[in-house]
């Protein structure tokens, strides 16, 4: 999946606030504070809106994650020097984009080995998000995480 990124594309990865400006601890704190489903969903949806959109040119079939009711795309950029990954996940559904924002926050600018081993189920359980996911949506989310983790694992130096 060698992607010819333009300068603008690279800026999207660089300027993504999720996983840099916004950290997992920020999300945890906010979740502690929000106690009804409506404010939690609104927060997740807003998080999703912080992420840059994947440009149309990169919304190709090979960047599609299968198993989701909505369309979900995934692209990444490897910082070879640091051995860290930047990921962009986008969807035409706002809730999926919000859940993807949590995933991006957990993965962005993290070492490949950390990403490959990360226990996303545990994070979603901790945030009490899994309970709110229908089996179909949950599967889409799992497919998305699995795809990113497999990508990270494949990029790890042997």
């Amino acid at each position: 999946m060698a992607l010819p990124y333009s300068e603008q594309d690279l800026a999207l990865f660089r300027d993504n606030p999720l996983g840099s400006h916004t950290t997992l601890d920020d999300i945890r704190e906010n979740f502690d504070f929000l106690d009804d489903w409506e404010s939690r969903y609104s927060y997740v949806i807003d998080l999703g809106k912080q992420a840059p959109r994947i440009p149309e040119a990169h919304r190709t079939d090979d960047h599609l994650v299968h198993g989701c009711q909505s369309q979900v795309w995934f692209i990444y950029h490897l910082d070879a020097g640091k051995g860290t990954l930047q990921v962009l996940v986008d969807s035409d559904a706002v809730i999926v984009r919000g859940l993807a924002a949590v995933v991006m926050t957990a993965f962005n600018n993290q070492p490949l080995a950390h990403i490959a081993r990360f226990d996303m189920e545990a994070l979603f359980a901790e945030l009490d998000l899994v309970r709110h996911l229908s089996p179909t949506r949950g599967n889409g989310l799992r497919a998305m995480v699995k795809r990113i983790q497999a990508t990270a694992a494949a990029l790890l130096p042997a």
């Binding site: 949806i45 009711q69 969807s91 559904a93």
Partner: protein, 410 residues
Amino acid sequence: MSTQRIFDVASVRQDFPILHQSVHGKPLVYFDNAATAQKPMAVLAAMQAYYESINSNVHRGAHTLSDTATAAFENVRQQVARFLGAREAAEIIWVRGTTEAINLVAQSYGRSQLKPGDEILVSQLEHHSNIVPWQMVAAQTGASVIPIPVNAQGEIDQTAYAGLLSPRTRILAVNHVSNALGTINPVKAMIAQAKAVGAITVIDGAQATPHVTVDVQDLDCDFYAFSGHKVYGPTGIGALYGRRAILEAIPPWQGGGEMIERVSFEGTTFNHIPHKFEAGTPAIAEVIGLGAALDYLQAFNTTDLHRHEQALLRRAVELSEGIEGFQAIGTAANKVSVCSFVVEGTHPSDLGTLLDHQGFAVRTGHHCTQPLMARFGVPGTVRASFSFYNTLEEVDRFFVALDKCIRMCR
């Protein structure tokens, strides 16, 4: 009917135990009736009573229980024959549901009759279960499956249909009512046109049987299929009506017990219709449950039920006009109580999730009609499908909830 029950939605709701519960802390509003309908207590009781008092295999035992079970089972076949307006019970074949019924016709009639160059016409409105079985038999026989286009209202384009009919047309397979949009199709006229070119007609009645009165003799179709679970009966049972002359002429589909007259290694002869098409032990309790469901429905003047459903639909259409960016998918003049839509700037799956949190059960997605979704250029829709046990107040609350969901998404 002598002891007719007056339709009253409040009293009817008492017959459906499942409706009285909370989901995510909110009272359940069940608007996914096109996927499957809920079951009245009478159906549950009939199945329980069957297992408690007469369970035994049908058509087999030389004992009292088996005779009682067989009589009850065959009684429901009579009842279904009357429900569909068939000439006789032998024209009713038990199947698991509409899907199995269509596969039976495709594999028995289609596989034995179709030749290369033959055409099977299906509409763009069809459920996948009225497309894929035809594609499979087309691949086996060299026939081809031709889609009849649908107009912007979600109606089958009748001019295009007339243009597609030819002596090559061997089968017309269309739904009586569309599951995704609710369109009631003019199947009677379409059947007559198909007959005129010598084609046989297969009508998918899965969504029609809950909402319109069906009479297969008046329609003059060759096959008519429906699913028990959509007419308030159990899952795992449905029926296929087939015209006697055709059923007698075509080969059985599945082989096994029940469907034979005599088996030897020199050769096997098959049972009469309908048993020739019913290999194996049937879903006896489910047949009994289906009978109870039809009894339940027929205790009412069914037009009262349909009138209430139409009132729900009208209210929904009215309230939808107040929702910014609301786009109804399927605006046929003639439709059942199905409200399928998209809302600008939102994805159906988002709306489905957020509605669920407010207690509303709706279906989102392609509704097993991907060619139709492609026709409308949408990834899917939100579908609220109403039953006679739904209330105007539920519809009102739905649009308040929907408005809230939309504001959360934007």
